[in-house]
């Protein structure tokens, strides 16, 4: 009986994790877009690094979706 409940809890957790990571990908996309826009407005030496970081962040978010689907 307890095992059934545990199964449901894990299933709900997995669904929430997938939804959360998908929302996070959208957020990461917004970050990429915003950094690109602001870099056009204000440009300096450091902008390239920031753009690179925003893309790395987006890749990490996409990887998280895959990991959530595969590992959980």
């Amino acid at each position: 009986m307890m095992q059934d409940y545990t199964h449901y809890i894990f299933l709900i957790t997995k669904i929430l994790a997938v939804i959360g990571s998908l929302i996070y990908v959208v957020f990461a996309l917004v970050v990429v877009r915003q950094v690109a826009t602001m870099s056009k407005n204000v440009s300096d030496k450091f902008n390239g690094i920031l753009i690179a970081f925003s893309y790395i962040h987006l890749l990490a978010a996409i990887l998280l979706v895959f990991l959530t689907l595969v590992v959980l």
Binding site: F10, T13, A17, G20, S21, Y24, F27, A28, V30, V31, Q34, V35, T37, M38, K40, N41, V42, S43, D44, K45, F46, L50, F53, S54, H57, A60, A61, L64, L67, T68, V71, L72
Partner: protein, 255 residues
């Protein structure tokens, strides 16, 4: 009479009279035939003149005020940056100063990010995830670290892109409140009416940062620059810039 004075006496619609020879000038000599070379000698382009008011004493005083200040791209007080630029900048417009919030204002999110990074190490003392299997715990920790990075990155972006720029012609305020809301405002130096600096509290007094209020006669009545380093120096620089603009207006050289 100088050329500038002549032009001052002519109305815009008047026909410009042909240039007359000076009263005591010699009669024009007959042009001698000279065998000119077929290819005219190349005249090197003269170097671009410096900014129209760069030689003014006001500007020199400003340069003295900001002498020795850092030009690092991650500085909160960028004096005459070489690489920094902004979208609405005109070609010959010189940037005098770029200001960001004082580094001390970043301390709260830096400490938060460090503590959040260290938090998973304490899970062995507070086993709140032990209910879940190892693969779930791994994903949760991954989530935790990526969110920690996002918090730190967003705060850094907010600091980095929140700039106040003083150029030789205007002041520009670029605000990035969060990832979805940004604001761009500017005012001509000639429109500035009053500049006030305020410092309050222990940290502001000790670390020399504060708020500068600029009252303008333009559409945006007040530009507020919060928690910037050396606020009194900024006020001094703005006063000098205003004096320079007034002098230019008097000289009839206002662009």
């Amino acid at each position: 009479m100088s050329r500038a004075a002549n032009l001052d006496n002519i109305a815009p619609d008047d026909a410009v009279p042909p240039a007359s020879p000076p009263p005591h000038s010699l009669p024009p000599k007959k042009k001698k035939k000279v065998h000119a070379p077929s290819i005219p000698p190349e005249i090197p382009n003269p170097p671009l003149p410096p900014s129209h008011s760069a030689n003014l004493r006001f500007r020199q005083k400003i340069y003295e005020l900001i002498k020795g200040k850092t030009a690092s791209p991650l500085s909160a007080f960028l004096a005459r940056p070489k690489v920094f630029t902004f979208q609405a900048r005109e070609d010959s417009e010189e940037i005098i100063l770029v200001l960001r919030r004082h580094w001390f204002t970043n301390l709260h999110w830096i400490v938060t990010a460090i503590l959040m990074s260290l938090a998973p190490a304490f899970l062995q003392y507070f086993p709140i995830l032990d209910f879940f299997p190892a693969n779930y715990q791994f994903i949760f920790i991954l989530f935790w670290y990526i969110i920690t990075f996002a918090i730190a990155f967003e705060h850094f972006l907010s600091w980095y892109f929140n700039v106040f720029i003083i150029t030789e012609e205007r002041v520009v305020d670029i605000d990035m409140y969060n990832l979805l809301y940004t604001k761009f405002s500017e005012a001509k130096l000639s429109m500035i009416q009053d500049v006030t600096a305020t410092q309050g509290g222990v940290s502001q007094t000790v670390l020399n940062y504060g708020t500068v209020l600029i009252q303008t006669a333009s559409e945006i009545p007040v530009i507020k620059i919060e928690r910037i380093p050396n606020p009194h120096l900024v006020v001094q620089i703005l006063q000098q810039m205003r004096a320079e603009e007034e002098q230019e207006a008097l000289d009839g050289r206002l662009q």
